[in-house]
């Protein structure tokens, strides 16, 4: 249990014991509590007072499967709020193996200065010059880093977008195969990393200094049961390995809630061409991989390798939210074009969701026609080449709307919505409006309630409670390192009990089922407190006006939740 504190102003690295106020926190719980405690709420997110925190989950690096999520936290330059963006890959497990509870990056390097933070097999840390890699895109950069530090290296890095401090910039991280194709995309945290002068963090994956497990036999037994529960669940055991998250294209279009043509329709014409079913067919015919292990210790294998007609790698992994932002929102129904756009975003270091929505806003404003794939590729390339419009696009959809004088910009607190229209899935609208993160589906996705028939997606009744419950649950899950896509096994009696047993066996605690929501509530309270101090009020917990005024076909509903009901979301 130790913190690695990195001061970019002084170019110093220092390990310290975890202060007692932070003991027992991990992942989003740690990043959010620390930011609320230590970061001045009104500071410039791209200035020296902001802190960029990398925290593996409480269980990352153990042999409990699917616990390789890394939380990255800071004050967001995109939203101005507190932010936690998390990513899979291999870094969280590598830090867990070294007993590192968090890396805290403070201060700011002189302008133009660029460094790499390296943590070796023994856990020793050093800052190394990275001027030679200035402006390099992530695929080429990751290749160089693997050559320099060996194949057993986990990488976090930024591309040209992050170096340019554009607020849709991502932090990319490497998958099992060393490709920088996984991302902490949301909130522009790549820009914070760029502002710090940090081009990459490289962590040796062979560390053998993990924190002790209080009762390893009980832990290992519970870990086996939990793995079985994930495999037995129809979603994580069957659907995700077969189609990945792209399997959501059909259900969400079937419900008329797939925001299309910049959220003017709820069904994309020709959505079948970009469905998970068709993607799997194309990948199979071309000899790619429909199922692929992307993250350390994963048993779900929701990842894929999308290849071109010659069988050559195009991108990994093509996922639902990207297919939506680059396809549904833009009207592009050619998966090859969407795969190219996904690769470009990963390579330049951009959030695919913010970028796709930014392109859609530009199309809606008349800069190109919906469905024009070549125009979309040109626009995204402009981010890397650094044209004036490229810089605007790289700052996300709100910046594009302002630049082009266009009113229909589907963002909350500056961050784009995700692939569920709030008029067709009202509870997801509650989450977008009220999440401390700005519009964010991973903060509380209500879709499971709709598809199970438990809740009518088109009526106001029950939506606030449903959003509240999943927001609390997700905040808790994000503390543990557990992947959202494996977390649905927690809803089964055997899966939920096994996970709790493993938690208690690791820490020597006696948490009961009620302790888990308590953990989520504590996180949300810290995040809300930071936002209040930063100047946010309930008036910021609203959707853009057009969602209340423009009915969405085919159901022709508007967003129905009253302001008073939205304001009751966090009445814990």
């Amino acid at each position: 249990m130790k913190f690695l504190k990195v001061n970019m102003s002084k170019k110093s690295v220092q390990f310290q014991e975890v202060p007692k106020d932070y003991v027992g926190l991990g992942g989003r719980g740690l990043t959010s509590v620390m930011i609320n405690t230590e970061v001045p709420p009104k500071c410039d997110p791209l200035g020296p007072e902001n802190k960029l925190i990398f925290a593996p989950g409480l269980l990352s690096g153990t042999n409990l499967v699917n616990t390789s999520r890394l939380s990255i936290g800071a004050k967001s330059p995109l939203t101005g709020t507190i932010k936690e963006s998390n990513a899979g890959g291999t870094v969280a497990a590598a830090l867990g193996h070294l007993g590192i509870t968090a890396i805290i990056v403070e201060g700011q390097a002189p302008k133009g200065d660029l460094s790499i933070l390296r943590i070796d097999e023994k856990g020793e840390a050093s800052l190394l010059p990275a001027q030679a890699y200035k402006g390099m895109r992530t695929y080429a950069f990751a290749k160089k880093l693997l050559e320099a530090y060996g194949e057993k290296t986990a990488i976090l890095c930024i591309g040209p977008a992050g170096e340019s401090q554009l607020t849709a910039a991502s932090v990319q991280t490497t998958d099992i195969d060393g490709r920088p194709c996984r991302a902490a995309g949301r909130g522009g945290l790549g820009a914070v990393m760029g502002a710090k002068g940090l081009k990459a963090i490289v962590v040796d994956q062979r560390g053998k200094n993990a924190d002790a497990i209080a009762d390893s036999k009980t832990f290992n037994d519970a870990a086996k049961v939990f793995a079985q529960a994930i495999k037995a669940h129809p979603f994580s055991g069957q659907m995700l390995p077969a189609l990945g998250t792209a399997g959501l294209v059909a259900p969400v279009n079937s419900l008329g809630a797939f925001p299309s043509y910049n959220a003017t329709k709820g069904v994309l014409e020709g959505w079948e061409k970009i469905s998970g079913e068709n993607m799997a067919k194309i990948i199979t015919e071309r000899g790619g991989k429909t199922t692929h292990m992307g993250c350390a210790q994963c048993v779900v294998h929701c990842s894929n390798e999308y290849v071109d007609k010659q069988g050559k790698y195009m991108t990994a992994s093509l996922e639902y939210e990207t297919i939506w932002s680059m396809g549904g929102m833009t009207g592009i129904t050619d998966l090859d074009v969407i795969a190219k756009l996904d690769y470009l975003c990963d390579d330049i270091g951009l959030d695919t969701m913010s970028t796709g929505v930014a392109v859609a806003v530009a199309m809606d404003a008349g800069k190109a026609k919906f469905g024009d794939g070549e125009a979309a590729i040109r626009m995204v390339e402009e981010v890397a080449t650094g044209t004036q419009f490229g810089k605007v696009l790289g700052n996300g959809p709100a910046a594009v709307g302002k630049h082009l004088g266009h009113h229909r910009v589907p963002v909350v607190k500056g961050q784009s919505i995700a692939a569920y229209d709030p008029r067709g899935m009202q509870g997801n609208g509650v989450t977008y409006a009220t999440s401390p993160m700005g519009a964010d589906h991973t903060a509380g996705n209500v879709i499971g309630e709709y598809l199970s028939g438990a809740l009518d997606p088109l009526k106001a009744d029950g939506q606030v409670a449903a959003s509240r419950n999943v927001q609390i649950a997700m905040a808790a899950v994000d503390c543990t390192g557990l992947c959202l896509l494996a977390s649905f096994a927690l809803t089964t009696p055997e899966g939920g009990q096994a996970f709790l047993t493993a938690m208690n066996a690791k820490f020597g605690t006696s948490f009961g089922p009620d302790s888990i929501p308590g953990m989520g509530i504590k996180v949300l309270q810290a995040e809300r407190e930071f936002n209040r101090k930063a100047g946010f009020t309930s008036k910021d917990d609203r959707l853009p006006e057009f969602f209340y005024k423009e009915p969405l076909p085919p159901h022709n509903k508007v967003f129905l939740i009253s302001d008073a009901d939205l304001d009751s979301t966090f009445n814990f």
């Binding site: 998250t245 419900l255 079948e272 879709i447 499971g448 598809l451 028939g453 159901h555």
Partner: protein, 80 residues
């Protein structure tokens, strides 16, 4: 008897060799049949989270189907 067109999503089509995703399945079921009757007719167990959507609305197992309906059979999903 009535006819409905069924389109299968997720992994549901795996047990129907030669399934054509463009045409779907033409299924004949008794008048007044409900969603659960259609699932039983196709041999899709309810416990697998099979859900039906017609014209953008989720149907429950007890909901009746109408002649000529285009039914999407989906698997429960929880997030992406």
């Amino acid at each position: 008897m009535m006819k409905v067109t069924v389109r299968l999503f997720g992994t549901l089509s795996q047990k129907f060799p030669g399934y054509d995703p463009v045409k779907g399945l033409e299924v004949e079921i008794p008048d007044g049949a409900r969603v659960k009757d259609l699932l039983a007719h196709l041999g899709i167990p309810e416990i697998k989270g099979g859900v039906a959507a017609v014209e953008g609305m989720i149907l429950k197992l007890e909901d009746p189907l109408r002649d000529g309906a285009s039914v999407h059979l989906l698997q429960a999903v929880y997030g992406g």
